[in-house]
Symmetry: C2
Subunit: 414 residues, 2 copies
Amino acid sequence: MANIAMLGYGVVGSGVAELISRNRYKFKDELDEELVISKILVRNVDKHLNNKNRGLLTENIEDIFNEKVDIIVEAMGGLNPSYEYIKRALNMKKHVVTANKDLMAERGYELLQLAKKNGVTIHFEASVGGGIPILKSMNECLVGNEIKSIKSILNGTTNFILSKMSHNGMSYEEALKLAQEMGFAEANPESDVKGYDAARKLSILSTIAYNRRVDWKNINIEGITQIDSDDFRYAKMQKCSIKLLGISKVSEDDIYATVMPVMVKQDSMLGKIENEYNAILVEGDAVGDVMFSGKGAGMFPTASAVFADIADIVENKREKTITFSSEKASINKSWNLKSKWLLRIKTQNRVEIIESISSSFKSCYILSNSVSGNKEEVVAFVNADNEDLIDEYIEKVKSEKNVQSVKKLLVLDK
Amino acid sequence: MANIAMLGYGVVGSGVAELISRNRYKFKDELDEELVISKILVRNVDKHLNNKNRGLLTENIEDIFNEKVDIIVEAMGGLNPSYEYIKRALNMKKHVVTANKDLMAERGYELLQLAKKNGVTIHFEASVGGGIPILKSMNECLVGNEIKSIKSILNGTTNFILSKMSHNGMSYEEALKLAQEMGFAEANPESDVKGYDAARKLSILSTIAYNRRVDWKNINIEGITQIDSDDFRYAKMQKCSIKLLGISKVSEDDIYATVMPVMVKQDSMLGKIENEYNAILVEGDAVGDVMFSGKGAGMFPTASAVFADIADIVENKREKTITFSSEKASINKSWNLKSKWLLRIKTQNRVEIIESISSSFKSCYILSNSVSGNKEEVVAFVNADNEDLIDEYIEKVKSEKNVQSVKKLLVLDK
């Protein structure tokens, strides 16, 4: 019998409990193991009076640790008290399964070390990409590869908002409101729309991919709050969509890592990922490009990943658990490939700025104001060898009189 | 030290040897295992005189079995003598890794049973989808799901041909010739273009997904040899591409399984899979739709999957090897969902056939001959509750005078 205690019984927790119950006898024949939930920690028992598992609920964490359990599933989210509870569980030599990307991005290294010290494991497949089996695939199935780059859509909320802005002509505010009404965005959407959530997931992915710790706080992070309907109009001129991409790329010395809105070709694989879906495009030196996509969140997709982790523990695969390297990665925040960029410069002096753009870049395509639809803005697609050159130009042009604001957006051609 | 003997040293074998050499010390720290190739079976040693591994080559299978090896990698392809060699290896309690889809589709059940009896494993990730980690993902990461359906592009050769016909306006013959010149198609392309290769892979996937043996010979198999440029023209009218899909779907009593050219929406995920790429869209009851895509063949993509299998064995994960169920699936060959179909009926009597179509189906859209461009063919999109109704109609209309031929094509709306 495998005894499982759960911390948290919200959307993810309920899904996990349901999957455990559906699969209770899954390993009976093969391993003579039966899956049993022994206790569930909730904040308020009274809220679950009609729940079929109400006999298992407790508000007292001591009830969890007093129980004889093999696996603790953390489905509370947030840093505290999850961090303390998981540490305690590991020190008591319990295996831990968590979907908590915030915690794994902040404290993953420490917790994995602690698990190792105690001869147990911490599994966290659900922390990135929801139900998409990406961590195990990268860790086990691509083990013969050196991973060269990752391009990913890791946040369903922002992808939903951008999809609605693109296809339904909604403003950012309207799309955010719809996302909140549909339960895709939280009342306080900051962590999603500002790109923090995607950055935490990208840091977990990249840390495993490159075997160097990629601290999410060192990643370049731009959210989608500045994206407006004009950006979509310009994107469509380039046959592009706008996606909040998490990109990382390894070079000899450092790792380029960014989360930012990017124009991607509408008919590319990433350009096709709509609404709440996530996708991860991994480039390995042997395998080439491999893409994984699916629902990045939600009750059962997340529970599907959590359950796979539980199954892994039940089947006793301790040998190849994921580790985070002790070596911290040096992070490069600047896109270092020759690329096309959209520049939008608000100014009263179009002529001067157009002159300045065309003399600053080898090639550029400047929209006439009848096309851009804005007489007080210069809109141009420019080609530059790297992002630094763009940033230098932006710094320069910002200091000029009559420039109110400058905005840039990478155009990913393939 | 993990000793590896290889059978075959062609494209895949060379890639595997290279990856083993690159990753020789991969498991040194963790497991104190070093990967060493001890012998390689080739057909003709003289062909490899300048090869860096020539000291390991032998034409004599006995040299392979006399060597003290832990793992035998079969990269010869075909049924014979692979089948005999692998049986012998398993009986000698050697682990086996193979990329051989023909063999696993034909003899998988027997070989997996034999491996189990001998306490060893046979791994075959590379047999489906090349470098795409699909078998392990399905077997381990989606373990909490009931798999409901699979939609897949499993043959790179035909996908390449169809891409060239669609985007470059090539005829089938021209595209096949190009594929052969580029090494994507063999001199005898029958197994690819007739759909047998895709059917074998679909049988392996479906056998694992539904835990019932899906015999590839019971699958409905249609190839792409009948697809012409007009089909692409009609597909584009529906904003569709044509893809050779492997589809399977479980119902209470049986499994629907087919390999056939299908019109899929251009902007769907499968519609975006071009050239030699493969993709597998798995629908699980918990996870929803998950898609995996990547290169379905080629030296290093295939070697990437073979290497992951070797790593699995080295890391000693015997617990959760794939098994094929002893229960044979009952296969349904007829598409049983309400769908749209393209009908092309060659006839001298358009009026009569148009009358017959419009009275036989609840709704239909018949192309005028100025649109279809053919006065001796009626082209129509019809809606029907299931494929049997379409087939009954085709049988009926075929018996009418003045009908030369009838062709049908499923239009997949989502």
